[in-house]
């Protein structure tokens, strides 16, 4: 699992978080997650592929726009 930089806000109940992750294209992806899948400034996600500058990650849930996988800049991946 990798830690991926994200802005985390509280969700509708205590165990829910909303994560905002900036994709490689600069779009903000929104995803509803369990608190256990997030930290204060990151989410846990699985790395699927990598190119020169970007990493393809699989999120624990689907984004609001319907994607399980998004490309993020490799600088956003904090730890493996």
């Amino acid at each position: 699992m990798s830690r991926v930089k994200a802005r985390i806000v509280r969700g509708a109940n205590g165990s829910e978080r909303i994560a905002y992750i900036t994709t490689a294209e600069g779009v903000c992806a929104e995803v509803l997650l369990s608190a256990t899948q997030t930290g204060t400034n990151h989410i846990l996600a699985a790395e699927v592929a990598r190119d020169k500058n970007n990493v393809l990650i699989e999120l624990p849930q689907e984004t609001s726009s319907g994607y399980w996988r998004i490309w993020v800049n490799k600088k956003q991946v904090l730890h493996q």
Binding site: V48, A49, L56, E58, Q61, E62, T63, S64, S65, G66, Y67, W68, R69, I70, W71
Partner: protein, 185 residues
């Protein structure tokens, strides 16, 4: 057994599953691949429905679906900039942009299912008919229904459904040869 993303990609590379055009890497999840919405839609001809009010259809051996479809629905093209607004309780027939082919010898069948991001809005993508039989070839027809209280704008190219591929235990004696084989949009 359900195929994982890696198996789906191997089957695609070996032409044991064909999806055209090939899905973008972001459209995969661990055990499915998303397909996108075509610009073609079939909407109800309410003028015709009004004219034949009271007519009852009888599904059965004498029922001709294509005749029914052509009588009661019309094909429209969604404009990418405007999209198509699906009102609450509205029901339309849509298509995937991609065509898929499951050759008999591949021992693969599949299921088309909805996506949680759209389900949360109330959008269903099929009416109890998710099975894609071994031997099927063509784009997938989707029965879109907005069960939510708010209108939903549908735009061509949006991820609209997911396909889950499953291995069959043997090779079927006869692959799919129903009326929807090589169906056209």
């Amino acid at each position: 057994m359900i195929l994982t993303d890696r198996e789906i990609q191997i089957f695609l590379a070996n032409r044991q599953i064909k999806i055209e055009p090939k899905p973008d890497p972001v459209l995969y999840s661990s055990t499915s691949v998303d397909l996108t919405l075509s610009k073609q839609l079939r909407v109800w001809s309410f003028d015709q429905i009004e004219k034949t009010k009271g007519e009852i259809i009888t599904p059965g051996p004498k029922f001709k679906y294509l005749k029914f479809r052509d009588k009661y629905t019309k094909s429209i093209t969604i404009r990418p900039t405007k999209g198509y607004v699906l009102a609450p309780e509205a029901f339309v027939l849509a298509w995937t942009h991609e065509t898929i082919c499951l050759p008999n010898h591949s021992r693969i069948a599949a299921r088309v299912e909805g996506k949680s991001s759209l389900a949360r809005l109330g959008l269903a993508v099929h009416v109890t008919a998710p099975t894609i039989h071994a031997g099927f070839e063509g784009p997938l027809q989707l029965e879109l229904c907005n069960h939510g209280p708010v209108s939903i704008r549908l735009t061509p190219g949006m991820p609209i459904c997911q396909v889950i591929f499953e291995m069959t235990l043997g090779t079927p004696a006869k692959g799919y040869s129903g009326i929807f084989l090589r169906q056209k949009k």
